[in-house]
Amino acid sequence: MAGFGNPTQAVYSTVRELVENSLDACEDAQRLPRIRVDVESSLSDTLTVTVSDNGTGVPHSQIPESFGRVLYGSKYDRRQRRGTFGLGVTMAVLHGQITTDSPVLIHTRDDKSHGVAYKILVDIERNVPVIEEEQVRKRNYEGTTVSIRLRGDLKRAQERVLEYLRLSTVASPHAKIQIVIDDSLDLTVGGLVDTVPVPPIPSKPHPRAADVELLRKLIDRSENKKLRSFLIDSFQQVGDRSASRLLRFVGLHPKAEVRTLNREELSLLGQALRSFDGFGRPDIRSLSPIGADDFLKSIESTFNTSLLRFANRGSCEWEGNAFMLEGVVAYGDEFPSAEIPTIYRFANRVPLLYDASECVLTKTLKRVNWSRYGARGSTPAALFIHFCSTKVPYKAAGKQSIAHLPQIEEEALALYRKLGRALNVFVKKKERSSRETKRIREFSKMFGLMARYGAALAGFEKAPPTSHMVRLLFEGGFDVQ
């Protein structure tokens, strides 16, 4: 199972899926996320992960399907989100069930109830949820608590889990996450800013994303419209003129009723929508970049740095999905010294910790000649790169690396160069000032020797003081020892 391949990764992935859903639920509720992660290890290799949030809660009717059915809930809701609800979390439920034969426990309260608790299993053969227990139980505030019992290696996963949570609050600095592991650890990270990010607006699909399947779905959901109105209503960046031009080009009548179109015509329409170059770029409001202020602040609070510079790129699209890249270059002794900066990858505010070498962001990093940007073997530099998109093209189901698409590579390259230039300016300045400090220290030493041997030569007991004169000479705030 992707992401649950070994006992270490299983712990990490379970925490990750639950925390992502919690953060998304809080975003929907427009609240500052207050999340608690409890890990209790009852037996040496069996543990319970419980994640509790103050999000929207799950509507009761959707609970069984959301947690007990694989591939449920692919909504056509085009906006940046962390998780794909119903896929990731069900994998975690399934893994827990397979390894410990235990159901998932859900205790949730939405705006229409006082709380309800479920125990759910998955009928693996038929891919349907089995409700083991369902009861009304009061929850003090809106939100959801999910408990999964699984077999995993907590000892080895612990560092990864903490790293994941810490970096999650770098990408979501408004979130505060408390983690409690047995009796051994109680740590709170995040809560670095007090404002909830502007929520991304769900957008209609971009025409470049149109294929037969999508067209079918859109037609099913729409009333029996005329073809041109259907296009304008169903897609973004399509207006009267562009729709008319496109239909003339394909040879379909603008007044044709959409439900009457046959498979061939739909295929033709899809092809035209994807290749027509008269549409604007996708709507950027469906994205939620971290932004300069929050990104800089979160890294500054989390790491010990002496340089932080932010840069971003404009919005782009891959197959009709809006995406953009933003990043911060940091310099500080906490980062390893290397010829290539250390990279911290984020996709839709989720830190990516595994499979770095497979990721387009890492591969592109190696295409940049970092020595031109002042990076040497001794440079402790790091890059924090956030890829955000209405849909992240993950390379594999483990959701740890971004696929190698030429548009993304191009954008990443341009962003790296922008950040590289900032690094270069900083490194050069630092070298200059360390030369200056060295020069003053050397001067101070020599000046002291002159006074000392001058006094010895004259036969005086004591050398006259000199530090005030050195300070006088180098007025400008340098420290002289």
């Binding site: 002159m450 041997y453 001058g454 030569l457 004259a458 005086f460």
Partner: protein
């Protein structure tokens, strides 16, 4: 200058620095410029001396402070030497610096600072008890009387050792008593020096032999000057036949830029006997082509004030024309005795 006076000069130097610092000022020094452009001929002293150009060392200048501190330390070290009645070689001084937290990049740097101190105080380093490594020897029918402590009044015959005697502090300060010799012959290489002793050429030509060992150390030049003045021995110089050998002779005759601030080292009537470019032809000596470095050196020498005389310019022109050079040892081509029997016979008799 007496030791007491030297100590006073050095103590004053330290007092100046400290007093300036106590006034909240940055000490400065004013030194004569030792660049080759600042060498002029002083007819009264009959030697080249430093001209009027001076340089200022300012301790508030980050580029000067290092050599400034080094200079004060060298002065302090020199004072210690005198008071303890000890001597030190230039190399010893270089290594001693580390124990005092003063560092020099290399010995060339510490040597340069010693020269600075000489220029600043007008006192030669020998008066501070600082000497170069001995690499020069003397042999011949001369009796000297030591003045160095512990040997006062003791006489030494310079033919005592068949290897010659090293020219150190003791010989440099010794007084010439008497001689049977008629000339002083300085040779560049140790090989030629030994040859002239072994073949008893020194007897045949009544010569005191001095081995210069490349550029002659100051102590050797001072000793030669003394023998010239007090025993009335004319000085002849025999070097390799190349621009560098010629310049070894020139420094003995008219001094070096580095020592132009020291009086009484030059022997203006000393004579370079060869190997000259025309000797190479005349004696059909094995030779090598001049290298680019050799030609560059000739170019520099041709513009050097010390080479103004017609004879010197002739030698330079001949080198340039011949484009070849040779060594003293090249005479061996004609047999081991040729240099004594034929070459020197022609030059000296």
């Amino acid at each position: 200058m007496s030791n007491r006076n030297v100590v006073e000069v050095l103590t004053d130097l330290g007092r100046d620095v400290v007093n300036t610092l106590r006034d909240g000022e940055f000490p400065t020094f004013n030194l004569p410029d030792r660049g080759t452009k600042n060498i002029v001929y002083d007819s009264k002293a009959d030697q080249f001396v430093l001209g009027n150009s001076r340089i200022t060392r300012d301790s508030s200048n980050t580029k000067h402070i290092r050599s400034f501190a080094q200079l004060i330390w060298v002065a302090y070290f020199a004072k210690q030497l005198i008071e303890a009645n000890r001597t030190s070689s230039l190399r010893d001084l270089y290594y001693s610096s580390e124990a005092f937290g003063v560092d020099f990049c290399d010995q060339a740097e510490s040597d340069r600072i010693v020269l600075d101190l000489e220029c600043l105080t007008g006192v030669p380093r020998e008066s501070f008890g600082v000497f170069p490594e001995e690499h020069s020897s003397i042999f011949g029918a001369v009796t000297m009387r030591y003045t160095v402590r512990g040997y006062e009044g003791k006489e030494v015959d310079l033919t005592t050792s068949p290897d010659g005697l090293p020219v150190g502090r003791a010989l440099m300060t010794a007084e010439p008593v008497s001689t049977d010799a008629e000339i002083l012959l300085a040779v560049e290489s140790g090989g030629m020096f030994s040859r002239l002793i072994e073949t008893r050429a020194w007897e045949r030509y009544n010569a005191v032999l001095v081995q210069l060992g490349g550029q002659a150390p100051r102590s050797t030049r001072a000793l030669m000057k003394r023998l010239r003045d007090e025993l009335d021995l004319p000085v002849l110089i025999f070097t390799d036949g190349d621009p560098w050998g010629m310049h070894i002779a020139q420094v003995v005759i008219s001094g070096s830029a580095n020592s132009a601030h020291i009086m009484g080292l030059t022997i203006p009537d000393a004579k370079w006997i060869g190997v000259t470019p025309s000797d190479i032809v005349e004696h059909t000596l094995p030779s090598e082509p001049l290298t680019n470095a050799d030609l560059k050196r000739l170019e520099e020498l041709s513009r050097d004030i010390r080479y103004t005389g017609g004879e010197w310019q002739n030698h330079i022109d001949e080198f340039r024309l011949l484009k070849r050079k040779t060594e003293q040892q090249a005479f061996s081509r004609h047999g081991a005795d040729y240099v004594v029997e034929t070459y020197l016979a022609r030059k000296l008799e």
